[in-house]
Amino acid sequence: MTFIAKPKVAHPSLPKNARGFTRRDYEGALSTLCAGCGHDSITAAIVEASWGLDIEPQNMVKLSGIGCSSKTTAYFVSGGHGFNSVHGRMPSIAMGANAANRQLSYIGVSGDGDTLSIGLGQFCHAIRRNLNMLYIIENNGVYGLTKGQFSASADVGTKAKKGETNFQPPIDPVLLAMTLGATFVARSFSGDKQQLVPLIQAGLKHQGFALIDVLSPCVTFNDHEGSTKSYAYTREHYEPAVHADFVPLEREISVDYKEGETVPVVMHDGSRIVLRKLDAGYDPTNRTTAAAQIQERMKAGEYLTGLLYLDVEPQKGAFHFVNNTPDEPLNSIPYEALSPGSQGLEKALARYR
């Protein structure tokens, strides 16, 4: 299977965003995933979200590890650089890239194996550093490329395609991220584009580590009776708790919200996220109660979805804030400003005489 280029022909009537790009400009190579794969829906949501945000394609940097999900970075925004790295180590590539140039938008796509098993350490530490990136987990509870082994997100009691039952408790990325101090934690479903698109937009605008755990059924190895990550099971058990509407700076809030049900959050660039509570008792700005509720509902077999936690001042703990790096990218600072020169060397050597 070689790379299949997607023809770039855009119909003149296709709508253009503020930068003059059509949705086609945010697409990538043709997907080679199985027909009906949840991941492809997420790719489509990323295309839609990027177009809607008016991002210049070259300003988007796409990063991934290894696995079905990690392949998808080739399937969107072909005008942005992509880096398909090694298994479970995408966060470190993202950290280095972000350190070099803090002004680009970093989007990482990973899977449950890539994030929760081999890459669990790097995932946790990217959260600790509050690395400014959007990190999407395409979570299907199964290793697809190696044909159907359980992943660390497989639920107790779930059945593999060949009938085997999983007895090990899952690692839930949302709860884990909450306890590690993540500043933006969301869960969604590949089948709910309406919920997913604004979440991706908000995540890209978030000035810190934004996690979206997207339940994304594997049609080939985990969509059968007895699986808790199938389309049917997910549709039945996912519960939108908080809907996030993303409102770009230049647009007016057009939806009518009922008093007391919404939490408007202003982003660093003036754009807004309006959190609409679908579950009246749920507070997405309180880490402790939110985590408790997520866990409680999970015990009852329900996945709360939406923007489940948001820190409204994420930049305070973000890497560049802590490191006190300048606003301009480190990779753009002229050499003359970096080298102390021969006089600087002479001065530095004084203590070694």
Binding site: V61, V86, S92, I93, A100, S339, G341
Partner: protein, 613 residues
């Protein structure tokens, strides 16, 4: 009566045995630097435990008027401050030498040796009488022996005072208390022993234009001058001080005076895998980035190094080698990663390596490593070791050419990309195997997809045999081109001998001294110190031009010799290994003995690679 040794001015070795965590490091630095400031070449080696407090530690100072930089292998004066190691310390003194010990407590019978002069000084008693507080008394006891040595060796007390004043510029009361301890030891020695000893120092003028610096500090300075802006690492002995030094320099030299913002990112990673991942991510994105580690870290970095090799991403990695295998002896030195670094990672991988021999070269090679990494778009490993990295070496002043500008390699900017019909990442336009890259954020037309999976020359995923092979073959072409940019070997063929020595890195000083000694004994040898991998053409020539070659290296498995047999046309049977792998740095006497054993009449006729010693 022990024999009285003949006068040995500016040519002897002192060893100080103490317990770590007792402040002996300050005392030893004080001694060494005061000798250095008297214009006398001096070498210092620290043998310390992998521990914070309470275990034996030794410091060796070699006063060497001829400017040798290696251990002599002989100890003329021992300061035995650690009862736990008395027995072995006493044994180590050369006949005719001296032993200074703390005579506060009765001297154990172990100390009896008729062929050396034993000098007891009641150091603990002197300090207990003059200082209060347990910790202060311990610390001052060590400063006090420095005073004793100052009297015995006739060191300049003025230099000592100045050095203390510099060290404690912000705590002047400490200058006085330290000076008091110095004086106590000094006066005691002057009163009780004939001072100076025949071993003594005499002012010279051979250290002007020189500095005393360790290789990690010098390498860190090199990174500053190379324009590195991203430093990521995981703490590991003996590399940590490189990162500490980088941070120290960067905090001073890289903070914008107006805004207070830092023109560098300093990232303590969660492990070495992440550290090298960050370096790769940053250099992929156009910043100069590096990490420093040691053998265990390189083991962990293998997977990422293969990615960077195949995806052609620059990276700079300092490997401050220590004793392996496994955790080994973290605070002892070795050249045990030569093979590991050359071929790190699975599949057909090979990496550019640089082999500095001292701190001076660490500085220049650090700069060069970044230029090479970006020029060749591949990881560059700088193989230093604990001996170079953590010991203070006397080096020529580091110089900086202000006209230097970084070689960023083949990076296309927006204008250049727009002129192209289409940009492809791996097209070998120039025929040197080095292709053009772009940085994220430039233009949609410049975008490409970096991957460790099979790719063709357009950068696209492939499982096509021919397309895959074409890229792999071009990487070998690039490998050949690399030789053009690499530092040549340092060759000394003045002897015109048919016998030569081949080595890399920190054995240089010991080898040069050994060559002098051998020459005096009628054995003149040629010498080649290899400075980079892939081996440059001059290496092949030197190997071909000699009938017998001693390969001197500091590991058990003759790794350099292996690499030479794999990567050059050399006849294996010409290569004789001299292998030193005790964890201490190699001494000149080891090499002299090894060479003479081989060349002596009756020595085995058939060459073999067996270890000597």
């Amino acid at each position: 009566m022990p024999p009285v040794s003949p006068a040995r001015v500016n040519d002897f070795s002192i060893k100080i045995a103490t317990v770590n965590g007792t402040g002996s490091a300050s005392a030893n630095t004080l001694l060494m630097k005061s000798i250095f400031r008297s214009g006398i070449p001096v070498m210092g080696k620290n043998y310390f435990p992998s521990n914070i407090q309470g275990l034996p530690t030794w410091y060796e100072i070699r006063v060497t008027k001829d400017g040798h930089v290696a251990r002599s292998g002989k100890i003329d004066l021992m300061v035995a401050m650690n009862p736990e190691t008395y027995a072995r310390d006493v044994k180590e003194v050369e006949p005719g030498g001296y032993l200074v010990y703390d005579s506060t407590w009765p001297r154990p019978a172990l100390l009896k040796r008729e062929d050396i002069t034993v000098l007891g000084v009641p150091l603990a008693q002197l300090c207990n009488e003059n200082f209060s507080g347990v910790r202060t008394r311990i610390l001052m006891k060590n400063i006090c022996y420095a005073g004793v040595l100052a009297a015995l060796l006739e060191l300049d007390l003025g230099h000592i005072r100045t050095l203390l004043a510099e060290t404690y510029a912000k705590k002047p009361q400490l200058v006085e208390s330290n000076m008091k301890a110095i004086q106590l030891g000094y006066d005691y020695a002057r009163t009780h022993f004939p001072c100076p000893l025949p071993l003594r120092v005499e002012k010279m003028d051979r250290t002007a234009g020189h500095i005393m610096i360790d290789g990690n500090t010098a390498a860190a300075l090199g990174c500053i001058f190379a324009g590195a802006t991203v430093a990521a690492w995981y703490p590991i002995t003996p590399s940590t001080s490189l990162m500490d030094a980088f941070k120290m320099f960067a905090d001073r030299m890289r903070v914008d005076k107006q805004t207070g913002r830092k023109n560098f990112a300093f990232i303590q990673a969660e492990d070495e895998l992440a550290a090298v991942g960050m370096v790769i991510g940053a250099m992929w994105n156009g910043a100069r980035a590096f990490t420093a580690t040691s053998g265990p870290g390189i083991s962990l970095m293998n997977e990422f190094l293969g990615l960077a090799y195949y995806a052609e991403v620059p990276a700079v990695i300092f490997d401050i080698q220590r004793v392996g295998p496994s955790t080994g002896m973290p605070t002892r030195t070795q050249q045990g990663d030569i093979m590991l670094c050359a071929y790190a990672s699975h599949g057909d991988t090979r990496h550019v390596c640089l082999y500095p021999s001292d701190p001076e070269e660490c500085f220049y090679m650090a700069v060069q490593a970044f230029d090479l990494a970006e020029r060749l778009q591949t990881p560059v490993m700088v193989l230093s070791d604990l001996d170079i990295g953590m010991n203070d070496w006397m080096c020529r002043d580091l110089k900086w050419d202000d006209s230097y500008r970084p070689d960023r390699g083949k990076v296309l900017g927006k204008e250049e990309v727009l002129k192209l019909e289409k940009f492809y990442r791996f097209i070998d336009k120039d025929g040197d195997g080095i292709t053009y890259r772009t940085l994220p954020g430039v233009h949609p037309k410049a975008a490409y997809f970096t991957r460790g999976s099979g790719h063709n020359q357009y950068g696209a995923y492939t499982e096509d045999s021919a397309d895959y092979q074409a890229v792999l073959d071009r990487l070998m072409k690039k490998w050949a081109s690399a030789r053009r940019y690499l530092p040549r070997a340092v060759i000394d063929a003045t002897a015109g001998s048919k016998v030569g020595i081949v080595s890399v890195g920190s054995g240089d000083g010991a080898i040069r001294e050994a060559m002098d000694v051998l020459k005096e004994r009628g054995v003149a040898l040629d010498y080649m110190r290899i400075r980079s991998f892939p081996f440059t053409e001059d290496v092949e020539k030197f190997l071909a031009a000699h009938e017998l070659l001693f390969v001197v290296e500091q590991n058990r498995d003759a790794q350099l010799r292996s690499l030479l047999t794999l990567e050059t046309a050399v006849d294996k049977s010409k290569l004789r290994s001299l292998l030193h792998y005790s964890g201490l740095s190699i001494s000149s006497s080891f090499i002299v003995e090894g060479v003479l054993a081989e060349l002596a009449p009756g020595a085995r006729a058939q060459p073999s690679g067996a270890a000597h010693g």
